[in-house]
């Protein structure tokens, strides 16, 4: 069945291709090619939503991306509920389900509409004023209630199941906008053979040719010409034509972001289709052909459903075959609305009257309208629209006052003129200029390699537009290296032209009135609000914008900015350019997070790094923790063990027998070259020249400010070769730090740096039995204490593969770190594990590693230090070469603050109650009875239960800590204050005898 307002013979859709849809639970019939808005209007449905603040009934204002009112929720399933979809953009598919938003319990009866009656409470700046007092009420009363009453749409309950594609593209000429101008520019550029991309946000190309019934180009109807030209462009190898593709952001050096809506218009997209595709295009030249947007008239109740832009009504008729009413009024300050009236009249719709604010305009369309018998009133204003859920009348008055007359209508078409779409030009950092004659901002000074053409450039008339665009397309291509084109410029046989109009409030919404004459529909900003903002001292348009929220809704003021600016300028008594235009920012229209995130989510969000023994650890039931990008085995629970029990067992077993630990994630850098030792001298605090080949040293790296940057054990493999280890998290920045100094400060040094973190798997074997576990597998290395003392390194073979075998300890026990090429890591681990099993050794994870090193007072950079800790603060003064004359940080260390008394120093803490384990990060005070806020003298950096000590242990940074040995300090916690005693940092084997045990 044909919908009630579908006009047979009008529009370009095929009546045979029906599509049914549901809106607020009710079924309707539409046609393929409809938007949701055109399909609703075809069924006579104008009421589609409630406004944000006042909950006023709202209808469809526009037929495009500028739509502020007709925002709906499109629901496919639980996971696909998209809020704030513009009904004017959403294409209809069979089975589409949509809901209106911001209403309760129903669209026609909305409790929130009480806000409309109580509107004096909600005038401009009401958030800043009304809810200031009492203070507690904001969080507990005002905010929750405002959020419940406001808010547009609801979010889906499940993660987004769709996928989003992304592509980079390069072209010589990128044309933004596929109306007559964009198509002409693309044709001219394409003919030169350069790579061209043409993008348009609509499903069909043509722009205003969709409604301009009078346009004829190359002997054809304008829209038909556009389709032919697009077909020609699509057939060319050097051209990419993208429909449903919005240029949302214009960034530096002609980098333009486009979002292509790939499947939102399909009934069943299927898993293989992305929902959207992000195009990041780098263009040699950009042609901006984004057209213009019609403005509404600002008068009382101009937001009633059925009141819409004249060009929108024309689009619904000429493209979709839909009449927006049966008895239509027109209110204009501009010629183009006449063309809408003429088209509707010819389609059989009654035009009740045209009300033109201008005194005696002349234009062929006015004569044509008069000839069709349409009543025309010059010099008059529509001072109010009647009706509530749908407009029912318009009240007309001479613009300078006088008798009112009320005319019944079921729709009002408005046109206050056209605003060039300079958004992308402005985003490119171009400066707009105000044309005083035509009262519009047009592109002025360019900042990038782009050119604006057609309506977006303030060029009037189809003929002039095509001329300008074709020339600009040809020039852009030529400048980008194209050959001379051989095509012919499209010939405009007939076209429409309009300019002028008005800015600001029309009579009836003038100063002093309290009527609701809307400037910004989406944020419910009226002419009165703008005036009030000025009166309250907002003299810059940026302030007016923020105070009133004019232009700050999701439509970014596409229809409202110029009106708001003009009202503010009038109120300030200043010319418009002096009040200024707010800056346009990306995105031009809302962009989904999905399209920006693309494939970078879930497992692809961030890389995961796994060590060679990951599979083995997983098979043993290891629990993993994330350390940077790495997955590290945290602990290895046996059946029935919780984390605490597993860690206790691992800790005891390592000290009693031995343990295996995967230390592969530690950063490893090979420093090689004739000047390697000199380089090491400069980058680390320690002396290196005299370190013998085959020996190791614990090194500290500082920044130039004297604070600890990283640490690690360094082995000297040869006079010119150091094997440097870094912290796990520090590996990339240490490499960067070293490269920086080598390349820029010490380029005279003959040194090469190579990251070898991933080349070597590292298996730490620690504990009294560690040598017994390793020795049977090693060839060519004498592992006796005499031949291979603590802190030495040997090269040889283990399990038949090359190894760099370090004797070193991060547990305080006799220990080794077996480096083998990463590919052999798992096999060597398994061999060592088999040996370890014979002695009863354990595998241990990072938690046990942390406990064991804390028992020995070994620091972890980044945990026990925080970028403000010097070697002296950390008790590591011994590692700073006293005779050295230079190293990075040497001068920083002598800064007055760094040698001052009372600095925080690393110490041990023992709780008075040995069973209490402190919280890491807990603050420490000297006197728990002092008034709040207390003076904090330090904080806990590391804290564990130590099964080996039978008590808790902790490390802490405490002001003047080393002078406080034996003192009692206090750690205030929510459940009471904990008493602690300051101790040394070593809790196990203070003499270090176990290193050779």
């Amino acid at each position: 069945m044909t919908a009630l307002f579908r006009i047979s013979g009008a529009g370009r859709l095929s009546q045979a291709k029906t599509a049914s849809f549901r809106f607020d639970g009710k079924s309707y019939a539409g046609i393929e090619g409809d938007t949701l808005a055109s399909a609703l209007l075809a069924n006579g449905v104008h009421l589609v939503g409630r406004s944000f603040k006042y909950h006023r009934p709202r209808g469809v204002l526009s037929a495009g991306a500028e739509e502020p009112n007709a925002l709906v929720q499109i629901v496919r399933d639980d996971a696909r509920k998209t809020p704030n979809v513009r009904a004017t953009v959403q294409e209809l598919y069979d089975g589409l389900t949509a809901h209106s938003q911001n209403r309760w319990p129903s669209l026609a009866f909305d409790v929130g509409a009480v806000n409309d009656v109580a509107s004096p409470l909600f005038s401009a700046g009401f958030y800043y004023k009304t809810f200031m007092w009492p203070k507690w009420a904001w969080k507990d009363l005002y905010e929750p209630n405002i959020r419940a009453a406001a808010g547009l749409g609801v979010s889906p309950e499940k993660p987004d199941p769709d996928h989003y594609a992304a592509r980079y593209a390069h072209c010589e000429v990128l044309v933004l906008g596929g109306g007559a101008a964009g198509i002409a520019a693309a044709l001219a550029a394409a003919e030169t053979g350069v790579r061209v991309i043409l993008a348009d946000e609509q499903a069909e190309f043509g722009g205003s040719l969709r409604f301009e019934s009078g346009a004829r180009i190359d002997g054809q109807d304008g829209y038909a010409w556009a389709q032919g030209a697009i077909a020609k462009l699509k057939a060319m190898d050097n051209v990419r034509v993208l429909s449903r593709t919005t240029a949302f952001g214009y960034y530096a050096q002609n980098f333009v972001g486009l979002v292509e809506r790939v499947s939102d218009h399909l009934k069943s997209p299927g898993r293989e289709l992305a929902r959207e595709r992000l195009w990041q295009v780098r263009a040699g030249r950009v042609v901006i052909a984004t057209g213009a947007i019609e403005r509404h008239m600002v008068f009382a109740n101009n937001d009633r459903p059925g009141v819409m832009l004249a060009s929108a009504a024309r689009t619904y008729l000429n493209h979709y075959g839909v009449a927006v009413g049966r008895n239509v009024g027109v209110y204009t300050a501009n010629d183009s609305a006449y063309a809408a009236a003429i088209d509707l009249k010819k389609a059989g719709v009654n035009i009740a009257a045209i009300v033109d604010l201008r005194d005696n305009p002349t234009c062929p369309v006015i004569d044509e309208a008069r000839a069709l018998g349409i009543e025309i009133n010059f010099g008059r204003a529509v001072v109010s629209a009647g009706g509530k859920l749908r407009v029912s009348s318009m009240t007309v008055q001479p613009k300078n006052g006088g008798g009112e007359r009320t005319i019944p209508v079921d729709a009002i078409l408005m046109s206050a003129g056209w605003t060039p779409s300079v958004h992308l030009f402005s985003q490119s950092r171009g400066k707009v200029a105000f044309n005083d004659e035509t009262k519009r901002f047009v592109p002025g000074t360019y900042a990038q390699d782009c050119v604006s053409v057609g309506a977006s450039n303030g060029t009037d008339g189809l003929d002039a537009t095509v001329d300008e665009a074709y020339a600009a397309g040809a020039k852009a291509a030529k400048d980008a290296g194209g050959k001379a084109g051989k095509g012919a410029k499209p010939k405009v046989d007939a076209g429409e032209s309009w300019s002028r109009g008005m800015l600001g409030a029309a009579p009836g919404a003038g100063p002093g009135t309290t009527v609701k004459a809307f400037v910004d529909f989406q944020n419910d900003v009226t002419a009165k609000d703008i005036r009030q903002a000025v009166h309250e001292g907002m003299h810059s348009i940026e302030h007016v914008k923020r105070f009133t929220t004019n232009g700050m809704a999701t439509d970014q003021g596409k229809t409202s900015n110029m009106h708001g600016l003009a009202i503010a300028a009038e109120e300030l008594g200043k010319p418009i350019p002096q009040v200024g235009l707010t800056t346009f920012r990306a995105p031009y229209t809302p962009v989904t997070f999905g399209s920006i995130v693309g494939h970078a989510r879930g497992a692809l969000f961030d890389p995961t790094r796994r060590t060679a023994t990951h599979g083995w650890a997983a098979s043993q039931g290891a629990v993993f923790e994330d350390v940077g990008h790495w997955k590290r085995a945290w602990y290895f629970p046996k059946a029935g063990e919780d984390m605490h029990a597993a860690v206790n067992r691992e800790c005891v077993t390592v000290r009693k027998v031995g343990g295996l630990f995967d230390a592969s994630t530690l950063g490893k850098i090979e420093v090689v070259g004739p000047d390697a030792a000199k380089f090491m001298e400069l980058l680390y605090t320690n002396p290196w020249e005299k370190l013998e080949t085959g020996r190791c040293r614990y090194g500290i790296m500082l920044r130039e400010d004297g604070f600890i940057y990283d640490d690690g054990v360094v082995g000297r493999l040869a006079p010119d070769r150091f094997h440097v280890t870094t912290t796990t998290g520090g590996a990339p920045r240490v490499m960067n730090h070293m490269e920086d100094y080598l390349q820029t400060e010490f380029p005279h040094l003959n040194v090469w740096l190579t990251s070898i973190t991933e080349q070597w798997a590292v298996i730490a074997v620690q504990g009294p039995k560690s040598r017994d576990i390793i020795a049977p597998l090693v060839e060519g290395i004498d592992m006796s204490d005499e031949a291979m003392p603590h802190m030495s390194v040997r090269e040889g073979k283990i399990c038949g593969v090359p190894t760099r075998l370090f004797r070193m300890s991060f547990t305080g026990e006799r220990g080794f770190e077996v480096n083998v090429p990463a590919d052999y890591g798992e096999a060597v681990w398994e061999a060592l594990w088999a040996e370890g099993q014979k002695h009863g050794a354990t595998a241990y994870g990072t938690e046990t590693m942390h406990v064991l090193r804390a028992e020995k007072g070994y620091i972890i950079v980044g945990q026990d230090t925080d970028g403000t800790v010097t070697p002296n603060d950390a008790g590591l003064d011994w590692a700073v070469g006293k005779k050295k004359t230079d190293f990075v940080g040497i001068r920083g260390l002598t800064r007055s603050d760094l040698v001052a008394k009372g600095r925080k120093q690393l110490v041990g803490l023992k709780t008075k109650d040995p069973k209490v384990v402190l919280e890491e990060g807990a603050q420490i005070v000297a006197d728990p009875k002092q008034p709040i806020p207390m003076k904090m003298i330090g904080h806990v950096t590391s804290s564990y239960w130590s099964e080996n000590c039978g008590r808790s242990i902790a490390l802490a940074l405490v002001a003047g800590g080393r002078d406080r040995m034996g003192q009692t300090l206090y750690v205030p916690m929510p459940n009471g204050t904990i008493e602690v005693e300051v101790t040394g940092m070593v809790f196990v084997d203070e003499k270090g005898e176990r290193l050779n045990g």
């Binding site: 400010d705 490269e739 820029t744 400060e745 230079d886 001068r891 002598t894």
Partner: protein, 98 residues
């Protein structure tokens, strides 16, 4: 996203491949240990923050890994030129407006 010309690779590459490394032409004193407090402060802490032309270091970290110098306009973000580490501050800038 900016395009940055690496003077070692001799081509423009996307910003993603690079990392900024702070102000350029601040040489580490050869006898840094003897620097006065004031001089060390100037060397380590004080940085220009100009509106307009800035000389800064960049690293082609996801490319050739070299550090180099660049002249950039902080108002427009435009790169005026890039040159190799160790080369002197250019006396004349190409197409300099101010």
């Amino acid at each position: 996203m900016l395009l940055i010309r690496c003077p070692y690779c001799e081509e423009e590459r996307p910003e993603l491949e690079f990392r900024n490394a702070g102000e350029a032409h601040i040489a580490r004193p050869t006898n840094i240990a003897a620097e006065s407090d004031d001089d060390f402060e100037k060397f380590f802490f004080i940085r220009a923050n100009p509106k307009g032309v800035i000389y800064e270091r960049w690293r082609h970290i996801h490319g050739c890994a070299r550090f180099f110098n660049a002249v950039r306009d902080t108002v427009t973000d435009k790169f005026v030129m890039t040159y190799k580490a160790g080369e002197p501050k250019p006396a004349k800038l190409p197409g300099a407006s101010k």
